[in-house]
Every structure is written in C-alpha cells, then in structure tokens.
Symmetry: C2
Subunit: 121 residues, 2 copies
Amino acid sequence: MTVAEKEYTISDLAKEFEITSRSIRHYEDEKLISPERRGTHRIYSSRDRVRLQLILRGKRLGFSLAQIRQIIDLYDLPEGKQKQTTLLLGLIQERRDALLQQRKDINFMLKELEMLESKLD
Amino acid sequence: MTVAEKEYTISDLAKEFEITSRSIRHYEDEKLISPERRGTHRIYSSRDRVRLQLILRGKRLGFSLAQIRQIIDLYDLPEGKQKQTTLLLGLIQERRDALLQQRKDINFMLKELEMLESKLD
DNA sequence: CATCAAGTTTACGTTTGCGTAAAGGTAAGG
DNA sequence: CCTTACCTTTACGCAAACGTAAACTTGATG
C-alpha cells in the first residue's frame, strides 16, 4: 500500500526555503515546476519539493532559470530508451564542464581569501 | 631598475577574455576597475588585467558586480595596519561560507549528472 | 454564516548587466 | 592632409527575475 505522500502549500515551501511565494509562482510560470491543483490552490508533493531544491541549488550556482530548466528536464526522462541520447550526453557534458570550471574558480578564490586573511595581523 | 610593465588596450583585454569592450567599460562604471588614462584612451596594466580576471571569475560563480566589488576591494587594503580588521574578517568569512556552500552544491550536481548519465544506456 | 488569513490572477514597476546606436575624437600610415 | 581603425561619451533599449499592488476567491474557524 502506498504511504500517504506529504503535501505542502506554497507558503509552507516559501517559509522552509526562505523565499517568497511570488518566486515559486514565477518558477511555475517559467515551467520549472508544476504542482497539482486542488481547485485553484497549488498542492506541492515531495517530488515538487525536491524540484524546488534543485532550482535553488542551481540558483546558488548562478545558473539562469532557463538553464536550470534544462537540467531539471533531464530528470524527467521517460525510463528506458531515451529520445536522443547523444544530444543529452552532450548537454550533460556541458553542464559538467561548467561545474568543474566553477569548482576551480572556487578553490582559487578560497586560497585568495586565505592569503588576504593572513594579511590581517 | 623597473622592468617595463606590460600595457593593454581595452580591445586587447576584450579579445583575450572573449568579452566586449562595452562590458569592460561597464565594470569601470561600476567601480570594479579604473585603468590609467593616456589622454582619453584607457591603458590597462598587468594589475588591471588581474582585476579583470577576478571579475570574470566572480561572474562565473554567479556573484553580482556589487558583490565582486566587495571582494576585489579586499585586495586593495593598504599594507600594514588595517582599518577595521574584524569587519573585514567577517566579510571574508561570509564569502568563504558562500563558496563552501557552492562547492557542496557543485559536488551534489556532479553526482546527479553521473547518475543521469548512467541511465542513458 | 461571518470573518479572516492565505490563496489566486493580472499587470505594471524595478534592478542588474550589458547591447546597441549615435556622434564624434585620436593616432598611425600613406 | 586624408583615410582607416580604434577609441571615447551619452543615452536609450532590453531581457531576466522577481517586487509590489490591486482586486478578488477560498477554506477553515468561532
């Protein structure tokens, strides 16, 4: 039997992640998330909540909502045979390259901060 | 004797870093860089070039120009006794926290990408 | 059933980060 | 001196990512 799925209102998630409801609705406008509707009200599932986490993670990394949607869409691949594997692999590789570059940038800046800090004696 | 410092025009740097001159001037408007002037023309030194690299690194990490300026300003501390050490240490710590969070986010996403990739068989 | 917090849509406003003319100044070569 | 390439400032334009206000609707509660 299916365990009762957790559900969230828009302000539940807004509070939890310290963003505004407006932002969450905006992400919906931009097709990044699409919660169930119960009447007019939005009901968010655990999966929706995870998607929101992915969105925010992408944001912290400086990706645009459009880029984040691309990444998120990768998660929605219908199981089994994929549509255009090579295209997707390319997309994944692109993302990975960007992330690896970012990690380098971060490590560089962390070192710089250390040096700066040591100057403050 | 002082070794002749390398100098660059705005388009030298624009080409090297694959950005537009417009962007570089914009960074100047935003007080992120302030090259020497020879007449009306801008002359960039090696130090200016390094600053530009810092700017672009910050951009790749998703920082706003205002945030980047804060970081860059840390480099311009007059040697020796600093103005408000504790304040600066706080600022540095803030930056570090953000960078560490980003690194976590990156590592998370890299793992996710691997998983996604493995689904494409 | 009245109330009241929380939800909804619609739409204009704002900030950031440049793009893109427009209109002209400057430096080197022929 | 004239062309040509590159530089300058000024200023309006624009997309992204929401903020914010207006004007309802809904659902839980006393």
